[in-house]
Point group: C2
Chain length 240, copies 2
């Protein structure tokens, strides 16, 4: 069944006018008809059944029916990832949504050779992945910030799983053993790795837990998926 | 440093004539010069330093120098994966190489809508990923087989981690607890899932351990990466 993320409040009997992109998707791509059923969610009011009430080229309207699932949040897990090439960054954002990350922070490091990206495009990818994976919220994509500034303003109480490719860190599962489930972030560096100065600084941070992702060199997208998976399995909602 | 997988035997002082594709890569893409250093491996004789001795348009020659790493195999871990769309299958093969799978078996299931693929192209992707990830062998890509036949001829002693999206299986880390490290395979179904009949048959196999990959719907590539990661972390070479 099609699932759509919308901005409107959701309640039984409400009418919803979809935006042009979603209208085109339902009418032209999925070829829905008046009366067809779908699911809608907005990240606040849970998931609801809805049905198509009119099909215009630029505006499809829906009527909200019964609730199908109450709102539920996932774990407070962030992905902090260095800007990498566009295709891999898009994969990382899609996978972060599937793997239940609450938000994705883009960071600029010494060996990052870009300082901007199309955040709106990444947000659209995250939204589509959230629709398909069945979650009830959409991860927020935050614009690039310098890593020094990010760790300088780090909020109290959030731990950071620092995926350190340099090799002498403990394996992730061992590093996470006995740690609390509370707010976390996973940090993935650029393809060229962190500079020695960055590594030294990251390893000294009191909230950082350095960990190793095995003996082989991983691309940034693989490292991000593996680290989020291991965190979810050890401390997140894959445990039950 | 560039790493190349070659077919020739490797020993100090040997000369190697590269094939046309590798010659073009070194000469035209990487723009190496005579005397430049690289690393070579063949899956049998370990990794060796080598240097460019001549640069032709169609044939680059190398001289093998000193050994840099002795041959070492990874765990005996197979990925058994249903044929999915080309782009995702290519991602899966690349990631299986990075994550240390020994081989990839392609399978046709009831809900697979293809029965062939370019195995030679997938093998090339696996080779390139093996070169970049630093491993000393290349995962073998086996041509598609029907899943019924594959499980009917299953070798004694190999366990199968059956990633079952239907939801009542135990989490992977729990399912793997106490299991031996010996030969294993990870099974990932098609995007539409296994049919009820296939699921019932798979769950009855004495060598199959059903396991869940969390509460969200994962694409096949994400499921493959997550399952290989968890196996490596629980029983493979990510433990130390």
């Amino acid at each position: 069944m099609i699932r759509l993320f919308i901005r409107d409040d959701l309640a039984a009997g409400r009418g919803v006018v979809l935006d042009e992109a979603q209208s085109r998707y339902l009418a032209a791509v999925m070829r829905l008809s008046v009366g067809d059923a779908l699911l809608v969610f907005n990240g606040r009011d849970g998931e609801w059944r809805a049905s198509v009430t009119s099909l215009g080229k630029r505006a499809v309207t829906l009527a909200v029916g019964e609730p199908s699932r109450p709102q539920a949040g996932g774990p407070d897990l962030e992905l902090v990832v260095a800007l990498v090439k566009r295709a891999r960054l898009e994969t990382i954002v899609e996978k972060a949504a599937e793997l239940g990350a609450a938000r994705v922070r883009l960071v600029v490091t010494e060996r990052t050779n870009a300082d901007h990206t199309r955040v709106d495009r990444l947000q659209a990818i995250a939204t589509e992945a959230a629709e398909q994976t069945g979650r009830l919220d959409v991860p927020e994509i935050l614009p690039p910030a310098k890593i020094d500034r990010l760790v300088g303003e780090w909020p109290q109480g959030r731990r950071l799983l620092f995926c350190d490719e340099a090799g002498d860190a403990r394996p992730v599962l061992e590093a996470l053993r006995g740690e609390p489930a509370g707010p976390w972030a996973v940090l993935i560096g650029p393809e060229g790795g962190f500079s020695p100065a960055e590594r030294a600084r990251l390893r000294e941070l009191p909230f950082a837990i350095p960990a190793s992702l095995g003996p082989r060199i991983l691309r940034a997208d693989t490292a991000a998926i593996s680290a989020l998976t291991l965190w979810q399995a050890a401390l997140g909602d894959w445990r039950t």
